[in-house]
Structure formats: C-alpha cells, structure tokens
C-alpha cells in the first residue's frame, strides 16, 4: 500500500464539480469525474420486505424501475442507483447477489432501449459486531460481508462501496464525552487500521471481477459527531469538535483509496472534498437533497467539488409527487443539471464558489469543508502521510487553525462553548506524544478499560 505524501492537485482552484484528476469509466457508457456530474438515487427497501428473499428482490426491482422511468421522464442523460444493503441482504449473500442482479437487469434494459448512461453501485453493510471477543477479522459476519461483495460483483454491479465501522466504539465514547483523544484514536488510528484490513480484501475481489472498487466513508464516526452536534441550538456535541472529527475522518477515508479504491467515494463522507484534494479520485457527496435522511449545515457547500450528487437514503414509499425513488432522483437530477449547465457554459467555477459561499460561515463544520480549506487540511495530512496517527493530529490542528483564523478575522463567531472545546482539543492534541507506538499503547490500555465494546484484538493491537 502506498500512502499519499503529496497532493494530486496543485492548488484548490483546480478543483471543481464534475471533474476529477482520475476519472472512472465503467460499463453502460457512464464516466465519473470526466466532465459531468451524475445524480445518485438511493432508496432503502420498505419495512417488511426483508421477510424473504423473493420479497426483497421484488422490492429492489420496483425501486430500479421507478428510478429509471422518472429519469427518462425528466430527461436525465445519466444517473446511478446505489443499492445500500440492509443487514439482511449482507447477512445472506445469496440475497445480495439476487438483488443486485434484479436491479442490473432493469438498468441494462433501459440503457439498451434509450441509451441512458447508468451504473449500479452496490454497498454491502458492515454487519460485524464490534464487541469484546467478537473476532472482527474472522467471524461469520466478516465472511458474509466479503461473500456479499463477491456476490454483488458476480451479479453485475458496476461499483462496490462500503461503510466500514472500525473504531466506532471508541470514537462514539469520545464524541459523547467530549474526549478528543478518544476521537483521534477511534477514527484516526483504529478506523484506519480496520479500513486497511477490509479494503485489501475488497480490492482483491473487485479486481478479480473487473468491478470498480469505489470507496469508503467515515460516516459511522464523524457523521455520528455531526448528528450529535445537530443544529445551531443543539449542544450535545460542540460544533467545533464535530469539525475536528471530520478533519480526522478525511485521513481515515483516504485509506481505502490508498488500498486501491478508485472512486466515486461514498456519498455520506462529508470529508470527501479533502480526500479528493489529496488523491484526485472522483467523489459522491450529499447535502441539501439529502434532507429526506438527515439535516446538515453545508447543504450547498458540499456540492462544490462533487462528481456525483446523492440523496443519501429514503425509505421506499409514496410521496405526493410519486414514489420516493422518483421524487428524490428528480431532486438530485435537477441539481446535477444545474452543475452540468454551469460546466457547459464555462461558469462551473462561479457556481462552485456560490455553492461554497452560501454555507462557508454558517458553521465551523461547513467552513473546514469549503474547497480552499479542504485543500489546506489535505496538505496537512499528506505532510505526515506515512503515519495515520500523525496525519490525524495534523488534520485536527489544521482544522483548529482554519476555524481560529475565521474567528480572528471576524468572519465567524463562536459561542464560549464552541471556543472552549476547540481550545481544549487543540491543547490536548499539541500535547500528544509524537511517537504513534506510545500513543497507541496508552490508548489501548486506557480505552480497553473504559470502552466496553473495544477489543484491541480486533485491530491486532
């Protein structure tokens, strides 16, 4: 595995939506990051459909048909369906295979008939249990995850993604208690160790089947911080601390790319602009058109340099404007159209800047993901690129510096709570040992006792 120690982009202004340094091409004529933005539609099977494989397959098929029909009806040149597994699909790899096959057949039919560019992105669930003695790396659940990846590949998926959850027990502890060290250890160290383990295997399987290994996300960790941080008036987790978690999360998501993931990275990785700045792979992001799934404070900004634009997730059901696959593909599809129009008219950088500026100073979490700041965090990461621990500290400190500069230049104000937790985290990080072995040894000891579900053996520590 080769770690990133330099930036793939020479400067932040080079980055814009629809273009990636290393575009990806797959079957059904679709390209990603090659000059246009693809909308993504992701719909979860409705409750009850998990009762049997047959009902699950039928459900998936209906979702695909609805999406394709709406895509045609509103004139989308391209779109991607992401099939994000519910636990039962991954736990039964033959279901995963059958569901993939059902959706691929639909997509292929519409592609053949109308020439619409399509792809199926399959995302098995990380169903491993993180608890003491759970044999994270060999358990039946682990084997089912890998078997599901294999099944999705064999049955026609274009791209494989996953949301690995390594280190979550420790980072959850840190986020809920405001312990920056636990956040750094859980995301930056444990998350990175686990992602490397998972992706070496996933890339092998994808390569065997000539399927694109897409990417991972730090969703299970820094999105937990984001959700807990909530809106401006929520105080369960400080927004500055959530921003720090995000910065550290970038170094984590980068690991999949270092193992051979080619993009598009997973939509829920809000850290993706940073990863794109470092690695040049195409990314999927989500924001204002993912309100069906959750609320965030960077609804426009996060579109600034995306290559695919997603709705995150929604249950399969009826809305007034149609079924959810129809409604939400229409939302992401029209947004992608706006971006593509900007590209066609040469105004893509203006739109990128407008997207960015709508939210840049809304919240520290948004600020650090503005493409210019994302680039800075990327630089901090690659400077210490060889060591996941050290690059996590570097990312966290850069996040702190960016926020502090905005405060000092009076562009953004923080509450005392936000400022204090930022100061406190910065001091903690500056005080950490340089030697990762020392930090890891201490943290294993500390969180091995404090966090019930954390078993160092799951990370071979």
């Amino acid at each position: 595995m080769k770690r990133f120690t330099k930036m793939e982009y020479d400067n932040p202004d080079e980055m814009v939506f629809g273009f990636a340094k290393h575009p990806v091409k797959t079957k059904y004529d679709i390209e990603i990051g090659a000059g246009y933005v693809n909308p993504i539609i992701k719909v979860a099977p409705k409750e009850g459909s998990e009762k049997s494989m047959e009902s699950m397959v039928a459900e998936c098929k209906n979702i695909a048909i609805s999406a394709c029909q709406r895509a045609l009806n509103i004139g989308l040149p391209s779109f991607i369906i992401e099939q994000e597994h519910i636990a039962q699909q991954t736990a039964n790899p033959e279901w995963a295979g059958a569901c993939t096959q059902a959706q691929v057949e639909v997509l292929e039919k519409f592609h053949d008939e109308y020439g619409i560019k399509v792809a199926l992105k399959a995302t098995p669930a990380d169903i491993r249990d993180e608890e003491k003695g759970s044999d994270y790396r060999t358990s039946q659940q682990y084997q089912n995850v890998m078997e599901s990846v294999e099944q999705c590949c064999e049955n026609g998926a274009s791209i494989i993604c996953i949301e690995t959850t390594g280190g979550k027990s420790v980072s959850d502890y840190g986020i809920s208690r405001g312990d920056p060290r636990a956040i750094l250890f859980g995301i930056g160290v444990l998350g990175s160790i686990d992602m490397e383990f998972m992706w070496e295997e996933i890339v092998k399987i994808c390569n065997k089947h000539n399927v694109i290994p897409g990417g991972d996300t730090n969703c299970s960790q820094s999105n937990t911080a984001m959700f807990l941080a909530g809106g401006l008036l929520d105080k369960d987790c400080s927004h500055t601390l959530a921003a720090i978690a995000r910065g550290i999360g970038a170094g984590n998501s980068l690991v999949a790319v270092e193992c051979g993931a080619k993009g598009p990275l997973k939509d829920c990785g809000y850290e993706n602009p940073i990863v794109k700045a470092i690695s040049g792979v195409p990314i999927a992001t989500e924001g204002k058109n993912a309100v069906c799934a959750h609320s965030d404070l960077m609804g426009n900004l996060i579109a600034g340099i995306c290559d695919c634009w997603s709705n995150e997730s929604v249950y399969h059901r009826e809305e007034m404007g149609g079924t959810t696959p129809e409604v939400w593909l229409q939302a992401t599809g029209f947004e992608a159209s706006l971006m593509n129009t900007a590209i066609q008219t040469g105004e893509e950088k203006t739109l990128r800047d407008l997207y960015t500026l709508t939210d840049k100073y809304r919240d520290p979490q948004a600020l650090i993901l503005a493409y210019d700041n994302a680039y800075r965090i990327g630089q901090a990461i690659v400077e210490h690129g060889e060591d996941p621990y050290q690059r996590s500290i570097a990312a966290a400190l850069e996040v702190g510096a960016i926020i502090q500069e905005a405060v000092d230049s009076k562009k953004m104000q923080l509450t005392r709570f936000e400022q204090d937790s930022l100061d406190s985290a910065m001091r903690t990080f500056r005080k950490l040992p340089e030697d990762s072995a020392k930090f890891i040894k201490r943290s294993v000891r500390r969180y091995g006792r404090k966090v019930e579900d954390f078993d160092p053996k799951n990370y071979e520590l």
Partner: protein, 531 residues
Amino acid sequence: MNEEFGIAIDIGTSGIRAQSYDLNTNKTISTAITLRHPLPGANVVDHLHFALEIGVDEAHTLLMRAINKVISNLDIENIRKIAVCGNPIQLSLFNNIEIRDLAFWGENALKEQNITPPSRKSKVIKSSEIGLDAGDDVDVYIPPAIKHEIGADALAMLYKSDALNKNEDSLIIDFGTNAEMALIVEGEVYTASAAAGPAIEGQTIEKGRLASPNTICDIEKENEYWRMKILDDELFTCDGDLINPKTGEVIEKGVFEAKGITGTGVIAAFSLAIDDGLMNNDKIYLQDDVYLTKDDISNIGKALGAFRAGELTLAESSDIYLDEIDSVYMAGASGFYVDAKKSLKIGQIPPSSAEIYQIGNTSLAMAKDIVLNPKLLDELQEIADNIESNHIMLATSEIFEKIYSLELAMYEQGMPFSTYKQWLLKYGFQDLPPIEENPEIHKLFERDIADSGENPIKTVDISNTMTTQFDNCIYCMECVNNCPENALSLDGEKFNLRSDLCSGLGCLRCVRNCMQNAFKYNQFYEKSDDL
C-alpha cells in the same frame, strides 16, 4: 478454662476505637469506642498544637487516661498483647516520643529548636513504659510509619486494601481530617497527605459539628425538596424534616430535631447544591435553623479542592490519567459512610472512578491482624521500607500549587468549572475525565468496623473536666455563651472545661470574647490539679 486476650486499638483524630479478641479462637469478643478524642481540638494539628503549647506529657497523660478507660470497658481480663495504629502524631503521643518534628516543616525550625526526628519504625514496648493499664506488663506492638509524614494509618490502608498485591492501578484514600492518599501505578506507590480536614469534618462550617446526636448526617432528594437524615441518640440515621432548601419552608415535619451538620451531611448538601444550582445562593436552608452560608460552601469547596488537587498531583507525578485508575479505595469512617456517588460527583474522588471500594476502618483492622499475628510487624516494616521512595509533599509541589490555585479561583472567585478545565490543559496537565455514571460500589461491610463481636458496641464516655479560676473575671458569661461546643461552664467562681468537647487552640472563642482579657486558656492545664 485458660482464656487469653489480645487488644487492638485505633487512635483516630475524632475518637478511639478498641476491640478485644480471644487469642485461642481469634474471635472478636468486645468493641468499645469513644465519640471524641480526649485532647481539645477537632483536627490533628490542634492536638499537636495543644501538646506543644501545654506540654507533651500532659497530652500523653490525657490520651492514656482515655485509652485505659476504653480498655476497662472491653470487660476482659488476662490481656496478653496489645497492638495500636494511627497517624504519626497520635502514635507519638501514645508512645510519648518527640512530636515537634511533625509540627514544623523545613530545616530551620528543627535546627533552631534542636529537634531530632525520632525513629518511627515498628517496635514492641512494654505497657508499663507508657502507663497503659493492662493488668500485667504486656507487649505493645506499634506498627511503622512509611515515612515521616505518612504514618502507620496510611500503611494500614495499603495493607488492608491489598492493593499492592493486585495487578492493577489503584488509588487509596483514608478520609480523616487529613486525607492520606496513595496511588499505585504499575506496582510503584506514590503517596501524599492533603490537609483538607476541617470543613469536611464540619469544622469551619458555621453550623458544622462532629457526628453526634441531632446532627444532619445525610440529605436525600425527594422531588424538588431535600430530606434531612439525622443521627438519633444512638447514632442511627433517622428521617428529619423535608425542606425547601431555597426558602427553609418545612414541607413535612420529621421526628428529630437538628442542631448541626456533620461532614458527610455537608458533602451531601454540597452535592445537591450543585445539582440544584444553589451554589451561589447566600444561604442554603436545612432543618431547624441549620443552614449553609456562601462562605461555608466556599470552605467546603476548597477542602474538596484539596482532595482533587492532591489526586491530580499524584496522577501527574506518576504519569497516569485519572481515568486509567482501575480501582478507588475509600478508607476511614467518613470514607465509609459517605455516599460514594456523591463523592465522585463533587471531586472527593476522581470523577472517573468506576470501581469503588469502601473498606472502612483499616487502622483497627490492621491492629487486629498484628495482635493475632505479631510476626506481621516485621513484614509491615519490610513493606514500609520498600515504599519509602515516592512521597509528594503537596505544600512544596509546584503541580499542587498550580492546581490548588485553580480550586481557590473557583471557590473564592467563582471561576467557572469549564475555565478550570481549560487551565489544566493550559498548564499542560491532563483534563479531568467525565463523571462515571454507573460506578460499581463495593461496600464490604455493614459498618466501618467489620466485626464488633457478640456484645453490643460500648460507647465510652471519656469526658474529662478541667477546672480553673481567673483573676479579673467579671462573670459576664461571654466565654460560656460563645463556646460553640458547650464545653465550658461556670460552677460558682470556677470554670469547668470539658477537654474532650473543646475545639482547642484552633477555636479560642472563649479567649476572644473575653472583654476583660481575663480568660487564660492554658491555665486550665497549667494550674490544674486534674492532671
């Protein structure tokens, strides 16, 4: 039948506890305790001060008189062995050896006064040497101090907690007027002694008192009100009034009257005051004109702050995070009866304490072990020798100074707790861990003395009255009326002073309130035939 008995004695700052054992069966026969220390004063420095001012011999005599009375109340004959335990000051008074080295710090005062610190290693003496009345002249076992200021009482908590033999990092604290602390990190022992006492034991609190009948010893929350828990005549806890602490309004009348509040009561009130946001109220109302003032809260805070600063200093000195400590042992009576969950919340023990052991009176327990197996004395000396290295003198520790000044800023100036935490980091110290919500609390026994024998515990009255007369006295009664402990009374033209009740040289309100400057405290002891 030829029965032979042994006696264990714990000389504590707030009282003496003794037990007798059948040496053939090792069974506990009887237990006798006092609710007071015979010397005036409410903390060990007061006792020390008394011995310096009035005389070491007088102090020794008062102490032995009380101990002999306690022994006679054990109702046994054929005493063969006696073992004692206590802090260095009490054991030195008992042994009648030099104590002045414990009264001063640094070389100057010792040099000037020609003081040579005596050996405080383990020793065996004869009861007749120290005026101990045991029938025959029997062996008396005195366990070793670990180091100058860290006495046999600290050794007892280490030994009885068995923490040295466990493969874990632990914190052991004996909560008395002085808190003896030991932190064991990877087998190495770091010790310190935090002089937090007075407020925690109720002294320096306006309505504070030692545990005695009609004192508030705990408070529980009932809806938005506070339920007073009051000690009855036999020191059992009973329900007192249900009170609105903001107004003093009595919501529901209880059975017992309240005249003061004990240290554990103070801790309970402090903890609830934090919960209910009453920390800045001018007055917190408890039952029957017992209340806490803003100054009281500040004093309690500073005392608790000494614990927290001491614990942090130990952790910083041994390079461990507080939340890496596996187990916390609370020794001593107040460490036993206090609600450990409250202790953890208010900073008496580290907030992250997940495994808490309330191990009771370890001094008496160790004295018992010695009397049943005198060979243990050598083993204890060996343990003491091996842990002699890492003592942290808090008064001269820079770490402690910095952290304690944060406590002062918080409780004297109202610095917010968040700023306190910021400062810890600014100084380069560890952050305080969050509060453990579900600590495992192990209370090993029902009472702080695990096994009191078949007979009921005897409470021994060691009241000791000193009498004197003052020239120039106009009998205005200001001295008597201002005595907070009702230790002083007038009998004709003579004043009677109850030594055991008197708060001693730390108080002297009698002297201060004498408008004639006639009241001479020392005279009770100097010109008295009672000694």
